[in-house]
Amino acid sequence: MDRKFKVWRGNKKSGEFISYSVAVEQGMVVLDAVHRIQTEHASDLAVRWNCKAGKCGSCSVEINGKPKLACMTRLNDYREDEEITIQPIKAFPIIKDLVADFSWNYEQNKRIQPLKIRARDKDGNHRMFQRDVERIQEFRKCIECFLCQDVCHVLRDHNKKDKFIGPRFMIRLASLEMHPLDEADRIPAIKEEFGAGMCNITRCCTDVCPEHIQITDNGIIPLKERVVDKYYDPVMWLYRKIFKRN
């Protein structure tokens, strides 16, 4: 059976949608179809991929307008007669065709204060318990596909890249802040430089995450609540003043 695809072809300056038709078989994913288009019609079509198993986070594109991993999106999710649209992601600059430049994200990562581990126990060990790290293990599932960064309207529509670090890095921050051995305080930075308040918890990041990480509920909202503790809660403020706690 043949299926139709509309693929964005272009570079930084200009581009257009080009329609292709290729034979597809059962079980194929969108990335297979892109490869077939490459083989049969457009050997210069640029697409980034690596594992074809939803684990490397390279193949992020937008399929019928939705941010998705091309290797995990099956063709039979779409009607047979439907032309499938494939575009690069929107929130970051295009390099060529389906390949975008994610380097802004790696720059953000560098701004985050790494783990500041507390002193060892008396017997020379660092001790952690499973129940204390369970929460942050969820965040470690992240494959850095940056689909959440792409869909987040703060970055995508409003382009507030100078004000908000984006959902992927909010969960990285959460995984450090909630770490049982960590001693650093990133809450002031989370409020100011990283812009927790810019997120309006509309949960699109959670909706697109291929690892099903509860980015908003388990990462961003708990961080927002920690910001409230420190800055917006008069009772907590008084408590800290009286008992000289931090």
Binding site: G65, N159, M198, D217
Partner: protein, 281 residues
């Protein structure tokens, strides 16, 4: 603004999505509007919010929108006996512009709790503020989007409205007990069951609150330091987390039920519906 170089559409409501993404925000938006319209109407009625089959003494059904009764006007139809109000009848100085309905004094409490709830915020930012209306759908164009940093920083009062919600659950639980009595005699009616389910659903919603999840234990970095033993706080946090998982479900079911409970009491008090109960046997 980004330059649309990848074939993306730019601007309000623009998207390349082909699924019916607008169904969810439209339905939730309309559902909430229906609730607000009904609640406002019911609040302004000021009558038929109480039923005890004309009996005095301890017991009767009280609409949750009207509870707790602070001031009442005992002369209207379907009003509770004056003894049920904390401060008795409406005072003489009551401004004539404000309708004399007990509900007007208390509805701001639950409303402030729901409006600052993280789930409600999500859906009304989507359905009403259109910021964004759907994922990967162009939101309302704003020169300077500021999220919850400027005006909406007010949302951070949510943890205080949580205490109001605890108070409401206590009051509605008392009303549930009240509904199992008629003139001091224990019994049961359809209304008793409805008014009993009400605080249970509200508790399911309130005890899954994100602010409570934080305050109960989420704010700690280490649950079992320093000795590695499981602490009560961790168990509490886990329990709240599991309710929190289905916070949206609890939000809707508790909201629908509270309106239904009001409708039920109103209909029975007006004589339109018959309450099946053990007292009339």
């Amino acid at each position: 603004m980004n330059q649309p170089t990848g074939g993306h559409k730019q601007g309000f409501l623009s998207t390349n999505r082909e699924d019916r993404w607008w169904i969810e925000p439209t339905l939730t938006g309309l559902g909430f509007i229906a609730f607000v319209v009904y609640t406002t109407w019911s609040m302004l009625q000021g009558e038929y919010y109480w039923w005890s089959a004309g009996q005095e003494g301890f017991g009767g059904y009280l609409s949750p929108f009207y509870s707790p009764l602070i001031f009442i006007n005992p002369t209207v139809a379907g009003a509770a006996p004056a003894a049920h109000a904390w401060l008795g009848s409406f005072p003489g100085w009551w401004p004539s512009l404000i309708p004399m309905t007990p509900a007007i004094l208390i509805l701001a409490g639950p409303l402030s709790f729901r409006l600052t709830c993280y789930y409600y915020r999500k859906f009304y930012y989507r359905s009403f503020f259109l910021s964004p209306p759907g994922c990967a759908v162009g939101g309302v164009t704003q020169k300077n989007y500021s999220g919850e940093t400027v005006l909406l920083v007010i949302q951070n009062i949510h943890r205080y409205t949580l205490y109001i919600a605890f108070g409401i659950i206590a009051v509605l639980s008392y009303d549930a007990v009240l509904s199992f009595f008629r003139d001091g005699k224990l019994g049961i009616g359809v209304g008793s069951i409805i008014l009993l389910i009400n605080p249970i659903l509200l508790a399911g919603y309130t005890f899954g609150c994100h602010a409570l999840r934080h305050l109960s234990g989420g704010r700690m970095d280490c649950f079992s330091c320093p000795n590695g033993k499981e602490k009560f706080k961790h168990k509490l946090w886990k329990g709240i987390s599991s309710l929190n998982d289905r916070h949206m479900f609890w939000a809707w079911i508790s909201m629908i039920w509270v309106a239904f409970a009001d409708i039920y009491v109103r209909m029975v008090a007006m004589g339109n519906w018959t309450d099946f109960n053990t007292w009339s046997l």
